[in-house]
Symmetry: none
Subunit: 141 residues, 4 copies
């Protein structure tokens, strides 16, 4: 099972709607496949120009390590040099905070990840989760 | 004037529709702003996983140099070392072939670029142009 | 469908056996998944130390572009600056010659790639294909 | 004396068997030679896609510094900026935690290193050591 473009669009639209509903700052949302490659991305008007890289970094670390943003943040807080080293081997592409959310199929296998950035990390994660669930998928924040 | 997310969505949808109409291979489409930063991206089901980087490279070179893909290709064919050097200063992020299309406002100012990849370079450029025009904007291939 | 570790082992062993049967120089063989990530690799005794990167580069470009080594070589010969630019966006990780072989499932979808290096590019490709077919899969050289 | 491919295979198989025996999460195992170059690697089904880079980073730092993962971790905890600087000179390829295990010959000379990732760092190291000892070699965790 993989995330189709149709499902990726739903994830992004519903995550952005959730942000508007919660009156969050403008969000940016990326959806990656099971290999960490971009399926779709949108940046809301008013968001800072560099938001693609942050959204991507949250989702990329999640899928490459098989570890969602919350777990990565705990590891970074407990053993900062380890997550710094992980970032080295992944070319500096990992942003280890909430807002990187793993997407799993019904058997629990990771089929991709969603990265959201723009508001607080916890709000970013809530928006990502809303999008994932609206697409009928299961998310791990 | 800038490319809004709403217009970027139109560009992408219409470029993909053009590809389907012409029976092209699955396409990937990116829209960048006037600073070369990603506004939106979509990769059709069945496209190779690495297509984001190629689409981005076509659009990024266009907006950074203010020179569309066709002009870049001519320069690369006539003076390969120059485009290689350009790629050096831009961190290897430029793919100098058609499919990178500049977007201009009514006064002719560059407000962004579109990058399309998946079929032949010329077909990629045709799909990009169709998307840009459907959004009421003017493209330079 | 994906390439299991069991199938990857078969591909590598049979590719190496083919090399021994054809009296090729010591080979190195990598198997990547559909996202371009390493499943398994072996370097025969007597091979040069840097062979992982060459084997990986052949397979990585194949899966990222959805284009096998032979097609990449043709493109590189006809439009050298294009493949150089592709290498830029993929971080210099592409080696566009035969020996990078796409692996497809029964419906034709790319499920990974095999990279072989050590002898001539054509012999490398032959060894890769022998391994892929011994695993009951279909290869595109 | 060097680690032959035959011995590398034994190391990997026995490390993976140890992981299954201890009911660890899916493991990934790399074997490097005395120059820090890859001899063999395997990633178990179900492991996250980015595990090659982590396994490699554990083994690479070990062999390049002549210092196993446990010693590297102590240094990172006591003098984080030193290990960060080490990573700078080695291109960000070092992951300084247990699971990077030095392999020594009978005279004590380093002939390579093994990197294991997937479970806790200590369990990773135990699996690596089991593999090395099964191959009749001596490991330093």
């Amino acid at each position: 099972m993989s995330i189709t473009l149709r499902k990726a669009r739903t994830i992004i639209r519903k995550a952005l709607e959730k942000g508007q509903e919660l009156e969050l700052k403008p969000l940016s949302v990326v959806v990656l496949d099971a290999g960490g490659h971009v399926i779709a991305f949108e940046r809301e008007d008013g968001a800072a120009p560099g938001r693609f890289a942050i959204a991507h970094g949250k989702a990329y670390g999640s899928v490459m390590l098989g570890m969602a943003g919350t777990a990565q943040m705990k590891r970074a807080e407990g053993q900062a040099y380890f997550m710094a080293a992980v970032n080295g081997v992944y070319g500096g592409q990992v942003v280890p905070v909430p807002g990187g959310v793993l997407v799993r199929d019904k058997k629990g296998a990771v089929i991709g990840a969603v990265g959201v950035t723009g508001d607080t990390s916890d709000n970013d994660a809530a928006a990502a989760l809303a999008g994932i669930e609206a697409a009928g998928l299961s998310g791990e924040i």
